[in-house]
Symmetry: C2
Subunit: 341 residues, 2 copies
DNA sequence: TGACATAATTGGAACGTTCCAAATATTAGG
DNA sequence: CCTAATATTTGGAACGTTCCAATTATGTCA
């Protein structure tokens, strides 16, 4: 209806004060008289005033936009959705708003999205980088004084803060648990070898194998897409091996679910005929049949923690890169066959 | 490093042209000479120029912010995550960015979030409203010329566009399918009666019952929380009826899973001893045991469609409220017992 | 070459806010 | 009633962009 928006000047005129006073009220300054304040507030309500943050942080000439950018590589994976929710919690209670985008593992998209966020003047960025992201990609951001926190996947070589779960310890405990149940041939299924997370988890697998006194054998490591479909594929290859494994640790829960599908297609019951352990503890893990034994990483916690770290850096005005690995724990349910034993 | 950011004026100076020319280049105007353009572009790259969208749309005095707000009521539910991904797809390829927030069904949070988005000058809003959202809540937005599209849950009485799935037809076909399998006593389980979606689905149930020549009987309708736990509760009540049902359509898939749990707890096998049909076709539906027969609604499609509708309204500059119901289809799997027959 | 069209460029003046220094009101102390 | 202190208010001048009207360069035609 009204073509022209209501500005501080309109408020000022209507309330019989100056625009500066209105601005003071907006900022909750203690300089302004109580009576004036309430009158101004009343007028604002009456005229339906909407604060123009764009204009404000144009003047404020700084990174005071109160926008936090969040970039995840796969929002359809509930792990990352949970992560985003965790970030949102602390970001919102700190009076910031979240700018969330999904890259779907596309590195071009990621670049676009980050550029766009920068144009909008985000005051910080939390990112779970797409595969094969170049460590130098976030250089310009930090050079411009915009704090960046990398979560879930770390970016070796990049001078940014990061929070990753303890992939190595988690995978190691999974392997040792299976070994403790008597399995001697334990496969490692799924995941793309060109990621740091894969390397970490594989290293944990290897340590677990060796700690259990089993020999590490390369043919038991079958990589694939880190998805349900990838899991189906991986288990097919593993089952075809001459020296067939009796158990598997999977790159993540999605792969584990795929492995279960693949087992059933071969009339093998996960848990009973073949032990399966996942990684992540996504929300579906406990409701699945059989309930998935998996390494729990609390994505929401990582999100919250990452957001706290970021806010700290924003407030400090200084980006001291720090790296945190969060503890994980094995959650034993049914798919490993422990219930039977 | 550099305390002061690079502006068009810096570029202008370095390139030996005026700021107006630089602005023209930024907008891709055809007025500017090819040579000048490339020189300006080169300088921009060299100095690491970052466009300041805030300043731009301050001047442009309009809703040209290229930000789309997306508000969902539960991001941890993969249904809504998928929806957001669908929105993001079309929004991004149209050169907009997405501002996503999660309300977690809190109506206060929803208000905050929407207010904040407005301050940031969103040019449109897509919202899956929290429960019990007041139809008048989005009035100020549309009054200010900001298009709003409501998805998934409709807001009767609000003059905004909306996209909802065809709840009525979906539920009706589910009932008819069960009737076709020979069931005469079909229950409707789960959901809160104070929502428009519930009313629609219940109406569909009723039509289905009547179309099949079965009498509608109120005691077969058992409401509960639309969750897994609610499903357990609802089936307990239904089983206790004197004239016990032999099949049930459920408010959504979560309820349906709970119903399966509840049946098993009574040594009844879903699919074989009691037919269960869900609604939504969440990602877990096909992997569950037994695979869930359900009404598929394609959240990503709704997201895409909603975004297209919104963009259309933004471009038209005029919000012609339209309501679309998207088709749904029954996906027959195992939990209805059809495989047996 | 002059006249005129066309192509390319350019200085302000906005946009809605915050900041600053300065002005004005109010109060207290003598 | 004057002075000094304190409490409140206030006009500009920014911020980085786009728009407009006006200017200057480049061609074209007779």
């Amino acid at each position: 209806m009204t073509k022209t928006r209501v500005t501080v000047i309109d408020i000022a005129k209507a309330a019989g004060v100056s625009k500066s006073t209105v601005s003071l009220v907006l900022q909750g300054s203690s300089l302004v008289n109580e009576g004036t304040r309430s009158k101004v507030n009343a007028v604002m309500r009456e005229l339906g005033y909407v604060y123009n943050r764009g204009a404000a942080n144009l003047r404020q000439a700084g990174a005071k936009s109160r926008i936090i950018g969040v970039v995840v590589n796969d929002l359809t994976n509930s792990f990352f959705a949970e992560l985003a929710v965790g970030v949102d919690m602390v970001v919102q209670s700190a009076g910031f708003v979240q700018f969330l985008s999904n890259t779907g593992e596309s590195i071009d998209r990621q670049r676009e999205v980050v550029a766009s966020m920068r144009e909008h003047g985000i005051s910080g960025l939390i990112v779970s980088p797409a595969r094969a992201t170049d460590a130098a990609d976030f250089k310009p951001l930090v050079a411009a004084g915009i704090p960046v926190v990398v979560v879930v996947r770390n970016l070796p070589g990049a001078k940014v803060s990061s929070i990753v779960s303890d992939n190595q310890a988690g995978m190691m405990s999974a392997v040792q648990h299976l070994a403790g149940l008597g399995h001697r041939r334990i496969a490692f299924l799924g995941g793309f070898p060109d990621t740091a997370v894969f390397d970490d988890r594989l290293a944990g697998y290897r340590s677990g194998i060796e700690a259990a006194g089993l020999g590490y054998r390369g043919e038991l490591v079958v990589s694939s897409a880190p998805s349900r479909a990838g899991g189906v594929e991986a288990i097919a290859k593993a089952i075809a091996l001459a020296d067939r494994p009796t158990a598997a640790v999977c790159f993540n829960d999605a792969v584990a679910f795929g492995v279960c599908d693949g087992l059933r297609a071969r009339r093998l019951e996960p848990g009973a005929d073949f032990a399966v352990v996942g990684f992540d503890d996504v929300i579906e893990a406990q409701a699945a049949v059989p309930a998935l034994t998996t390494v729990s990483v609390d994505p929401q916690g990582i999100g919250r923690r990452g957001a706290q770290m970021l806010l700290k850096q924003i407030n400090a005005g200084k980006a001291e890169a720090e790296t945190v690995t969060t503890a994980v724990r094995l959650v034993v349910r049914e798919s490993c066959g422990a219930a039977r034993a």
